[in-house]
């Protein structure tokens, strides 16, 4: 993969992210039982040491749920939420069960997002069980990222802003892919575009 994306690749990846986000939002609304809105996806292509800095301040305290993408593709889906806002988001869930509820929500979101990408691109995406923790943003995210960066220094990050409920609680979703998977997604996307236009 090149260090930069050309305009076609960028548009194609954004379109791909939008399709995944569309499936995601239905899944979120169904599982939470509250309205949800999304902001248009954004792309970040950055070296592994800089990805976490795009997500917030290094010492921001965040609850993070991660679903690793395994198999032929290598990546992760990450949901970030401020712990205080998580309490508001899941106010009608017993305190001890809130993390489990958030993990289940992430699991459903990941399934929806990866299922739509797999159908669109013809790439199988396998997902791990969710894992979660609450700590400093940089400390957590760097561990997620190094697993991708062990084989490549450049990481693709597709960010979709998700806001849930009447209070619009932000729960941004990040799709992270290593450089080999990004190259495979771009190649598959180009084939899809050729079929559609040609």
């Amino acid at each position: 993969m090149n260090d930069t994306l050309d305009p076609f690749e960028r548009d194609m990846l954004l379109e791909t992210a939008s399709i995944a986000a569309g499936k995601t939002i239905k899944a979120v609304a169904n599982i939470i039982g509250q309205p949800a809105i999304i902001t248009p996806p954004q792309l970040i292509l950055a070296s592994m040491e800089h990805i976490a800095d795009h997500m917030g301040k290094p010492d921001d305290i965040r609850t993070i749920v991660v679903v690793r993408i395994t198999g032929q593709a290598k990546g992760a889906i990450v949901l970030l939420v401020n712990p205080r806002e998580m309490e508001q988001l899941l106010a009608n869930v017993d305190g001890k069960l809130r993390i489990s509820a958030l993990e289940e929500m992430t699991n459903v979101i990941a399934g929806a997002a990866l299922g739509s990408l797999s159908t669109l691109l013809g790439i199988p995406f396998l997902q791990s069980v969710p894992a979660s923790t609450t700590d400093m943003l940089r400390a957590i995210m760097n561990e997620v990222i190094v697993e991708l960066g062990s084989t490549s220094a450049e990481i693709l990050c597709m960010v979709t802003g998700v806001q849930i409920g009447v209070k619009h609680i932000p729960v941004p979703m990040y799709l992270l892919f290593d450089s080999e998977t990004t190259a495979a997604i771009i190649a598959a996307g180009k084939q899809v575009a050729e079929r559609q236009h040609g």
Binding site: H50, P58, I61, A131, S132, M136, A139, E147, G149, A153
Partner: protein, 161 residues
Amino acid sequence: MANRIEVPTGGYSFAQAPDRLVTIGVGSCLAICLYSPERKVGALIHSMLPRAGQHVTNPSLYVDTALNVVLEKFAHAGIDHRHLFAKLVGGAEMFPGIQQIDNAGGIGQRNVEEASRLLKILGIPVASTSLGGNRGRSLSFDMENGVVSIAAVSATDILKI
């Protein structure tokens, strides 16, 4: 007046008394603090991975190449690495329940093992450590005395090593 110099992930910095080197959010990464008590000069490395591969764009990302670069700079400043001591902070497993992909141990553990191995070969004593667990740490390294102050989200007190 003392300056506070922040070291980013995958970076390193040098400082001398009375300044402090600071790095925030060390999880599975490893912070390697190297200090010359005679000169009151030190360096702080914030590495993410134990060993560099073939295509290295940023040597500070890796424990092995970062140590090489920093020790060369100490040598250029006339400081023999045998007059340094080290303190290690980090090497946590932020998701302890997750089985690692290659079953070779967690990244945090491998970072610690690589640093310990190289420092032993180089003859640089490890004076103290705060390693492992499943919490992130932020640290401040004081060039006046080589003391490292460590804060964690779950801890109420600052740990000094």
